[in-house]
Subunit: 393 residues, 2 copies
Amino acid sequence: MRKINIGLFGFGVVGEGIYKVLEEKPQLNAVIKKIVIKDASKPRNAPSELFSTNADEILNDDEINVVVELISDADAAHDIIIKAFNKGKHVVSANKKLIADHHKKLLDLQAKNNVSFLYEASVCGSVPIIRNLEEYFDNDLLNYVSGIVNGTTNYILTKMANENESYQDALKAAQESGFAEADPTADVEGFDASSKLAIITLHAFGKKIDVDQVIRKGITSLKVEDFKYAKEKNYTIKLIANSKINHQTGEITSTVLPTFVELNKTIALVNNEYNGVLIGSSLSDEQFLYGKGAGRFPTSSAVLSDISALKYDYQYSIRKYENQEEGVFNQTGKKRIYIGFENQADDVSNIFDEIEERYQSKNYNHIVGVIDIEKLKQKEIIENPKLSIIAFE
Amino acid sequence: MRKINIGLFGFGVVGEGIYKVLEEKPQLNAVIKKIVIKDASKPRNAPSELFSTNADEILNDDEINVVVELISDADAAHDIIIKAFNKGKHVVSANKKLIADHHKKLLDLQAKNNVSFLYEASVCGSVPIIRNLEEYFDNDLLNYVSGIVNGTTNYILTKMANENESYQDALKAAQESGFAEADPTADVEGFDASSKLAIITLHAFGKKIDVDQVIRKGITSLKVEDFKYAKEKNYTIKLIANSKINHQTGEITSTVLPTFVELNKTIALVNNEYNGVLIGSSLSDEQFLYGKGAGRFPTSSAVLSDISALKYDYQYSIRKYENQEEGVFNQTGKKRIYIGFENQADDVSNIFDEIEERYQSKNYNHIVGVIDIEKLKQKEIIENPKLSIIAFE
């Protein structure tokens, strides 16, 4: 078993958590040799000689064989990861946006330098979704991955559903409880979920998809009235990230959309800041993985699992993506959709192929019907903040 | 990637399912070369030249590198597995009783012959519990594994809870639906769950426990009145298999007991034939794995995942149990317990250390209180069919 000497970038709650566990558990056979931080003046709960502001003290130290990258600055993180690869160091990261945006390049560089690049913490915190997709499910048999991968939006949606709160009030509560950031855009607009979905899709189907091509709608347009409608029909509303493959054509469809979920379905039971992912395969119906998606302990736990795996030279298996062409998107077809809107001037019934249900009132209106995805994808529809767009499962 | 030539023992629904998938998916790079069955006269949905009644046609064929053992006769299976190991063949099995009863010996033989022995299908069907315990959770950080690992009893308990059925009626319904066997003893008395718990415990904590030492009570004594009590208190009743470790002392406590579970807890949502397991670690709170625990497709799926893993020489990591002494049981301490009984002559209030609640009526009685586990373990208590013993979580 290999001895792990870690160079840690970043000493926030997760970094500090990992430092403490490794101190308390010498049997894990991993130590932090150096911690690089930006601000040398901040007081830290670790011996001062561990700290430096110079990245080279990690990158040029040949005894350090593992770089754990936990910084928020994506450009700096990108730079560190590439330098670490070139120095023959393994890398553990939790930086989903960075990984989704540069996935192919990072995996190529990892392979070229014959090092491991592990990033379980980047998707659903402590829920071992990547490891299960990698190790347990043969991608030939996988049909879809679908679930709740963003804890911030799930916390807000749970509050909206259970307490009839408006989006603004629920967001405020989430911010006060530490479940949403001051600038919540990445979460509430579904960008974070799209990055995670792109990472999941590669590990599920072995195909790289472009995160910008995910059909994405966040939760900011959802109204109290939408939840009323959901309740009447025994639904709740969840932000569902879904990738599915057509094994005949190899085409992948990836969406991040507010979705009506029947209350008796497994995924409806994922509430508050929790994440839950269904993995559908030809053989075993659905597997469901559930746990905390973010936060100090869940993220530390995922990072520690990756560190442990490096002791026996674990790598995500190149077999899943080597010689694979880029994923082919098929973002076409038809979808059953609900669109809610306050002002009848925003009526978009003309984009529906077929209208099943239409409700009009002084305060709120909605249409349920079938839409061609090509029409739904138009910016003036999917990016229109006045339209509450909710998919049916 | 290694090419897999399989010798299959048994051609029931699971065996046939695996045969079909491997036929349809040549890219899995695994073929069944020979199938050994007991009854040569039965019609089979596969070419007749594949079949034989002579085990040696698999065991003595050097081209066959993987034995998949799917037969019900435990003694014959034991014999086949040991012979296969000695011939240097890897083995995939779903035979939980056999594995739990001979775990140490089989693992030793596997190591001695440097082959892989994989048995994900033996615990919770397609739910990748062993693989996750092995690969993802460092055993130094795991505190407990707890959940529903037997689909038959869960189906019966769900019917009793939702439809106010008696145990006998619910058992009959389970048998008619194919969820319980004609002789249901192994399931309903908790033997099956105890075997699975012993296997789980080894992979969770790296320590072998003796399946006979598990504190075990099945579901056969449960009464409609017990479910009435549960409902009043917002509980349901589940057969919970639980192993927990005290990291200070290394002591393990393992129980399979009917248990009151609060309705809003994750585990209460596992209904019908489904299985669900919570994994508790120091860092990540709880992870929850959920899926179908048995049946043709879930079992086939788990067996196929094991076959796939053999292509890259996967082994359960010896690191978890080598140089480990036998697990130390600490089946002592105190436990909060409900005991229900029809006849006041069966009153066992004298074994309680402390009684919190006592209910007496013409038809049914119950006591809630704290019992010393030493007293609970007495055969005349825990094996008394007139006592409905239910633990609190």
